[in-house]
Amino acid sequence: MDKIIKVIKRYRFFIILLVINTIILIVKPDIGLKSLQLTKSNALEMLSILPPVFILLGLLDVWVKRETMIKFMGEKSGIIGVLLAFLLGSAAAGPLYAAFPVAAVLLKKGSKFSNVLIMIGAWSTTKIPLLLFEASSMGIKFMITRFILNIFGIAIIAYTVEKLLSKREIDKIYNNAASME
């Protein structure tokens, strides 16, 4: 019985959404169907993105030494660390949730906290493959204006988040990342 409750607790959001979706499907079949289609495309995206990301993460973990990571993205890496973090995030493909495991490995290897936040920011909004797509469907002016604004936004968010956290809270995040496998 305990086990069943545990499973239900773990998947409570999934179960709630499933119920809501079923109700919508009965009441408004066309909207329900569309939402199912979106679910399908999200699931397929997740299945196609996550395995390669985890393989690359495994390789990063094994191939890149902690000292190397600290040198290029650590506390004293300066502008190189910032640029590397930005490029790493921008070169990525895939949704934002795939960036969190990457962030964990970077933290584990001794990357500076604000650099990891820059990587997350870049991953969320300045992905190169998506920029090309954005330019073709929204126009080049739209894409470039948003890109320039985003560079500032990523920097502001990374800087302020780091400043708003205490040393202890940041240490806790590092420890948490180190204990993750």
Partner: protein, 87 residues
């Protein structure tokens, strides 16, 4: 501007792959939506993830996740406003 906030909420909650979102956004533009609203939608869609917050909390803790998402939300409103002026 008030509708931009609505678009921001919409973009924050939904989880749509980019290769579906952009054609959708351009279709919305063609059918008369404003640049400000579309920029709000796209920006929050990419930077704010309400659905993935539990995962983000698992990696970064509650405080970081909430601050980051809130800042991204406010920033998206600013982006939307500027885009509305520039475009």
């Amino acid at each position: 501007m008030d509708w931009s906030i609505g678009c921001c909420f919409h973009g924050s909650i939904t989880l749509v792959p980019g290769f579906i979102a952009f054609p959708l956004a351009s279709a919305l533009l063609k059918s008369g939506a404003g640049y400000m609203q579309i920029a709000a939608f796209i920006s929050t869609l990419m930077m704010v993830g309400v659905v993935t917050i539990p995962l983000e909390i698992k990696y970064f803790g509650k405080k970081t996740a909430i601050i980051r998402n809130m800042e991204a939300f406010i920033f998206s409103l600013a982006v939307a406003y500027i885009m509305g002026v520039v475009m």
